[in-house]
């Protein structure tokens, strides 16, 4: 028996357990890629249209920060690579890191790995199987996307390179999650750390794309940047994939070294004893906060780092670098160089708002985690009402969302103000742009509370809300989705601040919707059984 004995069996076990979730990820990503592709066929089949798009883009750095530069407007494939790869590759990265943590640290935390490890299974078989699943799924997502795109009439060679580019972050973040799963004792924090690394990778490539002359090298530090550097429908550099594989190999060696030096169920740091009693845990809210504070800290650190980085880019967005007609046109529509900055802030804050809604959903669903684990039962068998218990978690999710957008606004305003020299103005502008996102983000957390109350076993469906606002917000116009559908997204009603007049009415309506959803959830939770 060697350290990898049983890997094949564990891979089959993993495939059996993930028979729903992995196909949903893989097919979902490939469908989004091909929807984008077919939308582009409709909109930009003429070379002139693509040239105009490229010129517009040179002016609108908000789009560049989000999607990267359009380097190959000469081909439709190059346009597809620009429009889709950064987001979809990040999704592949997320899929990979969740898969690895799910089959390593989560199994260890639950004690199931102990049972498996007592059988004829090698020491590193679980890690190897998890990596194989994650890398396999990433490659499958890339290949399936390439296949769909080829079917739509895009050249196959470039499509293959695009598929490879999409798989790159999946390969790398499988390795990163392999490391974080050794470091922390909880699956949550292992996913959180790896997810934070993904956010940083995305931020580094944003900075590299907005300031290619001075910060372009940052893109080589980011696995999401490598996706762009494969240069699908351009140079088709498969060597970048080899780079990803090599880096992942190093990460795996690191993970194995860490795993070798720790005990089963332990992390890198030994478990320290806690206090023998507590004078602060006096209510179910205090308990919920204790359970939630780590999550909020992790998200806050990511938002702070991203905000500081983006803030540093704000002023350069207004620099006028082009004098083409298309550029003039964009400039006029947006209202001059100041308008460019406003548009940039709105775009960035819109994305951060959606990210904050993901936090709101995750934090609200912690209540469901407590219920499934049987810990809610212990608390609800004391003199704590159902409503009070649930509202504790929902309240923290809402307050945390406010806090995250506050941090973002302050961070963006701070670095922006340092560069522009007018700190007060920059802080006010960024804070306004950040805080108007809060009610929309909270609506999604409230939706999670409603689902948790009404359909506890399907509570994870609340994530579909986040996917919906992301797809509608980032792709809705491109895909030509009906306006009525796009208006369903709470983010469609966020006032366009800065730049356009502020109106409190939509914010009040969104807050009202959130309140109704929470009330529905709390009432349903009060009236149902606790279900594991």
């Amino acid at each position: 028996m060697n350290a990898l004995t049983g890997t094949g069996t564990l891979v089959r076990l993993g495939l059996r357990r993930d028979r729903v979730i992995l196909p949903v990820w893989i097919v979902g990503i490939a469908v989004l890629v091909s929807s984008t592709a077919s939308a582009l066929v409709g909109l930009y089949s003429e070379a002139a249209q693509r040239e105009e798009l490229a010129a517009t883009l040179a002016a609108n750095k908000a789009m560049v920060a989000l999607l990267g530069p359009l380097t190959h407007p000469e081909s439709l494939g190059g346009t597809l690579a620009w429009r889709g790869q950064v987001f979809y590759a990040s999704a592949v990265g997320l899929m990979a890191l969740f898969t690895v943590v799910r089959h390593t640290r989560r199994e260890e935390e639950s004690g199931r790995l102990e049972l498996i490890g007592s059988a004829v299974v090698g020491r590193f078989a679980a890690l190897a199987a998890a990596l194989a699943l994650a890398v396999g799924a990433s490659v499958a997502a890339g290949l399936l996307s390439a296949g769909f795109v080829t079917v739509l009439g895009f050249p196959a060679r470039g499509a293959l390179a695009l598929g490879a580019a999409l798989a790159v972050p999946g390969i790398v973040f499988a390795g990163i999650a392999g490391v974080t799963a050794q470091v922390t004792t909880s699956a949550r924090s292992a996913s959180g750390l790896a997810g934070g690394a993904l956010a940083i990778a995305f931020g580094l490539r944003s900075a590299a794309d907005v300031e290619p002359a001075t910060l372009g090298w940052l893109g080589w530090l980011s696995a999401v940047g490598w996706t762009q550097r494969v240069d699908a429908y351009g140079a088709d550099r498969y060597a970048v994939v080899l780079l990803a594989v090599a880096v992942t190999a190093v990460l795996v060696v690191g993970a194995v070294a860490l795993a070798r030096n720790r005990d089963y169920d332990a992390g890198l740091l030994p478990d320290r004893p806690g206090p023998a009693g507590s004078s602060v845990l006096t209510s179910s809210l205090a308990l919920a906060w204790r359970e939630q504070r780590g999550l909020l800290t992790g998200w806050s650190v990511s938002f702070l780092a991203y905000g500081l980085l983006v803030g540093a880019l704000v002023e350069s967005v207004g620099d006028i670098t082009s004098t083409s007609d298309a550029f003039e046109q964009v400039l006029t529509t947006l209202g001059g160089p100041g308008g460019l900055i406003d548009a940039f802030l709105r775009t960035v804050m819109g994305v951060m708002g959606i990210a904050a809604s993901a936090y709101a959903v995750q934090a609200t669903l912690r209540a469901r985690t407590e219920e499934v684990a049987g810990r809610a039962e212990i608390v609800l068998a004391t003199a704590v009402s159902r409503e009070r218990w649930l509202l504790g978690h929902v309240g923290i999710a809402a307050g945390g969302t406010v806090f995250l957008m506050l941090v973002t606004g302050l961070a963006v305003g701070f670095t922006n103000g340092l560069i522009s020299g007018d700190l007060g103005f920059a802080l006010g502008r960024a804070l306004g742009a950040a805080l108007v996102q809060v009610p929309a983000a909270v609506v999604l957390g409230a939706l999670a509370a409603a689902v948790l109350g009404l359909l506890p076993r399907l509570a994870a469906l609340a994530w579909a809300g986040v996917v919906f606002v992301l797809v509608v917000g980032e792709l809705g116009t491109l895909l030509g989705l009906p306006d009525r559908l796009m208006q369903v997204s709470p983010f469609a009603h966020v006032p366009a601040v800065p730049g356009e007049p502020f109106s409190a009415t939509p914010l009040a309506v969104l807050a009202g919707v959130a309140a109704v959803l929470v009330a529905v959830g709390a009432r349903a939770f009060r009236r149902r059984d606790l279900v594991a």
Binding site: S186, R272, S278, L281, E377, I378, R386
Partner: protein
């Protein structure tokens, strides 16, 4: 007599198509320790969750401490403490923090009693939830429950995973609670525990209480085993009323007899010239095996127990919940 602490009448509880509680009746009088027994999956934990207002009933009436456990959950929970059979703790909270938290959420706990119990149960309150063994997690919940000043203790297999020493400490504690006048509902598989603690027991099977009463009353419901050496085996013994599992080997006779027919059978045996006779009263295992298994399997098991001369008193079931 005062109002019973727990009164359940004709309660049904369904999970999808499965009927977990089927016209359940259960009464626990104030001040008694009531044993609640039944095979795995018979509905013990479901009953307890109904009593705690964690599950709704589909039919029937439930009264707990004079209130409605679903509607008045919060106020009733100030007057009771609960120990689940499989305690899951917060991985990042120490045992001491959990004890204090649960005590406060119930409306306060006695710090002197808390310290005493931590000492008696030999619990390290500084360890984090994730590092406790199963037995130690149970201890955390037991200490938190016993340190609360409440009228009713609801204990769902509280000592699963405790070592025998701690089991003894637990029994002492429950006897003290009983002396102090508290009511205890104790779901358990440990027959020695039930025998030494419980005033009355209810036996649950397929969501229905099939037997209830004091242990003495229940003993009357089952059979006595007689082993005898006779000069001649009386004719008609096989057909005598109340005789079961007759086994004759030359002059050696072994049989089980229903309680109400004991007198007649002993007279019959006496007619055969008794050289030696041992009458074993029904053991608790026999009592429970009768209800835990189907009738045929139970008789087989009782027979096996006799043949092996087994005297084990616990039907342990480590994975039970």
């Amino acid at each position: 007599m005062t109002v019973p602490a727990i009164e359940i009448h004709g309660v049904d509880k369904r999970f999808g198509r499965a009927l977990a509680l089927d016209r359940l009746d259960l009464t626990v009088t104030t001040g008694e320790v009531h044993g609640y027994l039944g095979p795995n999956g018979s509905g013990k934990s479901t009953t307890i969750r109904v009593l705690l207002g964690l599950l709704r009933t589909d039919a029937g009436d439930v009264r707990l401490l004079g209130g409605d456990p679903w509607r008045d959950a919060v106020t009733l929970h100030r007057r009771l403490a609960y120990v689940p059979g499989d305690v899951s703790l917060w991985p990042n909270l120490s045992g001491g923090e959990v004890i204090d938290l649960l005590g406060r959420l119930r409306g306060g706990l006695d710090p002197r009693r808390r310290a005493e119990l931590v000492e008696r149960f030999d619990l390290d309150p500084t360890k984090k939830g994730r590092t406790y063994s199963k037995g130690n997690r149970q201890k955390v919940a037991i200490v938190a429950a016993l340190a609360s000043d409440v009228e009713l203790l609801v204990l769902d297999e509280p000592t699963a995973g405790l070592d025998p020493l701690m089991e003894a400490v637990f029994q002492d504690c429950i006897l003290e609670e009983k002396t102090a006048g508290r009511t205890v509902l104790l779901s358990s598989h440990q027959l020695s525990q039930v025998e030494s603690l419980c005033d009355r027991v209810s036996i649950l099977r397929d969501g229905h209480v099939v037997e209830h009463g004091t242990l003495a009353e229940l003993r009357h419901l089952t059979r006595t085993t007689i082993t005898a050496e006779l000069a001649t085996v009386p004719p008609g013994l096989a057909g005598a009323p109340g005789v079961h599992g007759l086994d004759v080997d030359a002059g050696h006779v072994r049989l089980d007899v229903d309680h109400e027919h004991l007198d007649g059978v002993v007279r019959l045996l006496a007619g055969g010239g008794v050289r030696n006779l041992v009458a074993a009263p029904p053991t608790l295992e026999q009592l429970f095996l009768r209800h835990y298994e189907t009738r045929e399997r139970a008789e087989e098991a009782v027979h096996r127990a006799h043949v092996a001369g087994a005297t084990a008193t616990a039907l342990t079931d480590p994975g039970a919940r």
